[in-house]
């Protein structure tokens, strides 16, 4: 992570390319959040790289004035891994979509997370394939009618955070496109050493308008947003409800504060370092956990280990090709 004079601003992270998303697309807000975050955390355009796959979301790198690589569908985590291992001093961000990252690219996502390569992964979840014009994705709801599911999708959706936890991810967070807290999440991801996975709920007004309205809407949103804070009880953004655990059954329920004598003390307290807790709250029925679900900074970082082995080898000497060729049995013919 690089520091620079605080003179940089959002503008310094905006490229000269015209932004080509549909009017009203949630991607605009995410882009703006990123362009605002980077100067704040002291990133520099020249040491920052955005690597993406294919999808509407994956056009993101073109709009950043940093280095960027718009690769192929699903493979961004692997490209980014090669880049980060060989250039650990760079800040590497992966931009992906629910199709790019969880359908064709699911395996690379799994493996970058389990290796804990020190990079940030932002998954734009609009529950649809935007770029190919609206087929259902691995996060689409059952019954979703799309051109490829004319009588409704029968695929059970997956929860991106749970997939990440299952892959042994050490940083799992969730936000949404137009949220004010998005820069904070990007900042937390940036500051985490290891793979930081951030799911961003994103509205696609063209093919899946309003799927997240329940959570992101100004009016009804706060009732359903469960912003997490480490060490604090889990209360919805409107302050009215909370999450309670039955320790016997290990089941959670959403309860109304004040109803039936429920107080803040009855609620689950967030502990960012507890993977089981993160699992538990990652897929709640009525409310959506937002913020940092899980953070384990103690795990070894993959690129550190690569560097350590290289250092060790270098200290033993080497690099002499002639000596290499002549190692083992050789003989002279005269």
């Amino acid at each position: 992570m690089t520091k620079n004079p605080p003179t940089l601003s959002k503008k310094d992270f905006s490229s000269d390319q015209e932004v080509r998303w549909c009017p009203g697309c949630g991607d605009y807000a995410i882009l703006a959040a990123m362009q605002r975050t980077l100067p704040e955390v002291g990133a520099k355009p020249e040491t920052t790289v955005f690597v993406s796959g294919i999808g509407c979301s994956s056009r993101f790198p073109y709009y950043m004035s940093t280095y960027g690589f718009h690769t192929i569908h699903g493979r961004a985590p692997a490209v980014a891994t090669g880049l980060k291992i060989s250039r650990p001093e760079l800040d590497v961000w992966v931009i992906t979509g629910d199709g790019d990252g969880l359908s064709i690219g699911g395996n690379h996502l799994l493996h970058v997370l389990r290796r804990n390569v020190n990079l940030q992964i932002i998954l734009f979840n609009n529950q649809i394939y935007g770029l190919t014009k609206g087929q259902y994705s691995p996060t689409s709801a059952v019954g979703k009618v799309t051109p490829s599911s004319p009588v409704g999708s029968i695929d059970q959706p997956i929860c991106p955070a749970r997939v990440a936890l299952g892959a042994n991810a050490r940083f799992v967070a969730r936000g949404y496109d137009v949220s004010k807290q998005l820069p904070d999440l990007f900042k937390a991801a940036y500051e985490f050493r290891g793979s930081a996975f951030v799911e961003v709920l994103q509205n696609c007004p063209v093919f899946n308008d309003g799927v997240f309205d329940l959570i992101t809407d100004r009016k009804q949103g706060p009732q359903h947003q469960l912003w997490l804070e480490d060490g604090r009880p889990m209360i919805t953004a409107d302050g009215k409800k909370g999450v309670r655990l039955d320790p016997k059954t290990l089941q959670v329920e959403v309860v109304t504060l004040g109803e039936g004598g429920v107080t803040e003390d009855d609620l689950l307290v967030h502990d960012e370092t507890n993977a089981t807790l993160a699992w538990l709250i990652s897929d709640l029925p009525e409310v959506k956990a937002l913020g940092v679900l899980y953070r384990d900074p103690s795990a070894p970082v993959y690129d550190d280990a690569v560097r350590a082995q290289s250092e060790m080898a270098r200290q033993k000497g080497g690099g002499d090709i002639d000596a290499l060729l002549r190692s083992g049995h050789v003989w002279d013919v005269t």
Partner: protein, 631 residues
């Protein structure tokens, strides 16, 4: 006790081909390797061919668990492991069953009778015991209870039955050393190094080795079994070592990266027969090498591309099925014009095919096997030692032309060892890569060298040169996404032209042997080199005007090739596939190239090539069952 080796009367031979064969657990590869080292130290020229079973560890005694190692050594320049063994060591009935058909009639057969139990005979599918039923009469048989003699030789070491029995390959090696007049010294040294932590075991093995040797010295060898000598070959002076293709390739890639002044990133996923390339490079971390065992082949190549984007030399290696998986990503490297070396160690196909057998059937895939108009450079190594040079060449072309380079090797080259005269690294011309380090007036990522058309390579981290690349078509004059029709046409032409220009940067087509304008030219590529060269020499020795041309540059083809080939009456293209180079030559040069194809997972024999050349010259009828003519 008899007089020492050197004073005994030995029958002089110009060359010998020996095959060691036994159970996977019998240590035949080790025996062969040690014999090879001792032979190399004797100053013979040699070539080897290990032949593993497909199973990791097949049940003892089965025919499909037989492991073989063939060595050919001579007092002259040889290039192949030999068509047929003249000496066969069979450690059990299954080894005899599998390998006897290859032994020349009258050949020497050394048999461990201790393994010829009823159970083993059954497992090998023998209804009668070949030692007793007269079926071995056409051979010179040396039948010894090696098992018993080995156990006796190590009894003082208290090894336990299993470990003691394992020494029988060393006993056999000792006998073979005696028969062929090789020194035990290098093996003794090796044993003491290998078992440094268990000196008792080391000495037990040395004792078995010596016992085998002593047996040879003292036992009454049967009628027809002599002891042999092969004089030193006249090899070019220099320092030599044995090397197999994958080791040589690993070293070549590392050497190439040093000449380019770049760190090397190797992304790979294990696959036979390419895995040992990963293993070799994993040991070279001190050479600024990072190896990455990816989750699959796609991730392996993608990571290599990411590393190349970052300014390293990205390399990925695999075999045919892995190349298939990498296809889409290779297209990305072509579109973004990043350097990338893809090593394809070919094996028998299609699909899983014959993973442990050799084949040359990925040429089409290498040259034409991608979506879109997607040209890249294709090279092929001809011998294990050649892998070193081609490794360097692949790096040179990839970095100079900013292009993926596919380097073809195969299972035969990868596993067989040959003595290799070591080059001096200082004799290689460096080809350092220059990266910009700061802002450049008028910069955009589609800028290119006007001569090579190589695109500018800027490392992330460079101030002022931030840019974006990707797989969508890019404007020739800006590097930005462009849907302009004329631009796409121009860029497609440019990508093709860039690769075509490599032909100006590599040697013109030349004959490997023979003279221009003869009766027939044999055009080969890859691991058929030795067999073709020898076959052509044989036919030339009979006074026929034939020639040999061996291609290392498969795409683009070298300059001057069409003219050279058109000068011959006939063009014969032997390949270990169903006809691919013949098609390529016809497509590109419009010459009447005619294939000669063997798709048996095994290298050509010199004799079958020579016979086919003669047949085409009208001298002899067609040979062998599993070789076909394709036109």
């Amino acid at each position: 006790m008899q007089t020492p080796t050197q004073e005994v009367e030995r029958e002089l031979r110009q060359s010998v081909v020996i095959r060691f064969a036994g159970d996977s657990g019998d240590g035949m590869q080790l025996t062969g390797t040690q014999f090879t080292t001792a032979t190399a130290l004797m100053g013979n020229d040699l070539a080897t061919f290990p032949d593993f079973p497909a199973e990791i560890r097949a049940p003892a005694g089965t025919t499909y668990g037989v492991s073989g190692f063939q060595i050919h050594f001579a007092d002259h320049d040889i290039l192949t492991p030999g068509d047929e063994p003249e000496v066969l060591v069979a450690m059990n009935p299954a080894a005899l069953k599998v390998n006897l058909p290859a032994l020349v009639r009258g050949g020497l057969l050394i048999i461990n009778t201790g393994a010829f139990t009823r159970q083993n005979l059954d497992k090998a599918g023998y209804t009668t015991n070949p030692l007793e039923d007269g079926s071995l009469a056409p051979y010179r048989v040396l039948a010894i209870d090696i098992t018993a003699l080995t156990l006796a030789s190590v009894q003082d070491f208290n090894l336990g039955a299993k470990a003691a029995g394992r020494c029988k390959n060393l006993w056999t090696l000792g006998l073979m050393f005696w028969l062929f007049g090789r020194s035990r010294e290098s093996t003794v040294e090796w044993l003491r190094r290998k078992f440094a932590k268990d000196p008792n075991l080391a000495e037990a093995n040395v004792a078995a080795l010596n016992a085998g040797h002593v047996y040879g010295e003292t036992a009454e060898l049967p009628q027809g079994v002599g002891i042999y000598q092969v004089a030193k070959a006249e090899l070019a002076p220099g320092t030599y070592r044995n090397v197999n293709g994958n080791d040589a390739l690993a070293w070549g890639l590392v050497a190439g990266a040093q000449l380019a002044g770049l760190p090397l990133f190797y992304g790979s996923y294990p696959i036979t027969p390419a895995s040992t390339l990963l293993h070799a490079l994993a040991k070279l971390k001190s050479f600024d090498v990072v190896t990455f065992q990816a989750e699959d082949e796609i991730a392996a190549v993608a990571a290599a591309i990411g590393a190349s984007f970052g300014g390293s030399l990205g390399v990925t290696g695999t075999s045919g099925p892995g190349v298939a998986l990498k296809t889409e990503a290779i297209g990305l490297a072509i579109a973004t014009e990043l350097p990338l070396v893809i090593c394809d160690v070919q094996r028998g196909g299609p699909s899983t095919g014959l993973p442990t057998k050799t084949e040359q059937s990925d040429l089409f895939q290498a040259v034409w096997g991608r979506n879109g108009d997607a040209p890249l450079v294709v090279l092929a190594a001809a011998t294990p030692g050649d892998c070193f040079y081609m490794g360097i060449e692949a790096v040179r072309l990839a970095t100079k032309y900013m292009t993926p380079v596919m380097l073809l090797s195969d299972g035969f080259i990868a596993n067989s060892a040959e003595p290799w005269k070591l080059p001096r690294f200082s004799d290689f011309e460096p080809f350092p890569v220059h990266h910009h380090t700061g802002p450049v007036e008028g910069f955009h990522p589609s800028l290119r060298d006007p001569k090579t058309y190589g695109r500018v390579w800027v490392k992330p981290g460079t101030p002022g040169l931030m840019h974006r690349i990707g797989g969508i078509e890019k404007g020739q004059d800006s590097g930005n996404i462009s849907y302009d029709p004329d631009n796409h046409h121009a860029m497609t032409k440019l990508r093709a032209e860039k690769v075509a220009r490599v032909a100006d940067d590599v040697p013109e087509a030349t004959l490997d042997s023979g003279e221009p304008g003869g009766e027939l030219v044999v055009v080969g590529w890859g691991s058929t080199y030795g067999a073709i060269r020898q076959a052509v020499a044989q036919v030339r020795a009979k006074g026929r005007n034939v020639a040999h041309l061996h291609l290392r540059n498969l795409w683009p083809l070298p300059r001057g090739l069409a003219a050279l080939l058109r000068g011959f009456d006939q063009i014969m293209v032997p390949e270990m596939n169903n006809g691919q180079l013949d098609r390529l030559l016809r497509a590109e040069l419009l010459v009447d190239a005619r294939g000669f194809n063997k798709i048996a997972g095994q290298p050509f024999r010199i004799a079958e090539l020579a016979a086919e050349i003669e047949r085409r010259l009208g001298v002899a009828p067609s040979p062998h069952a599993n070789v076909d003519v394709r036109a």
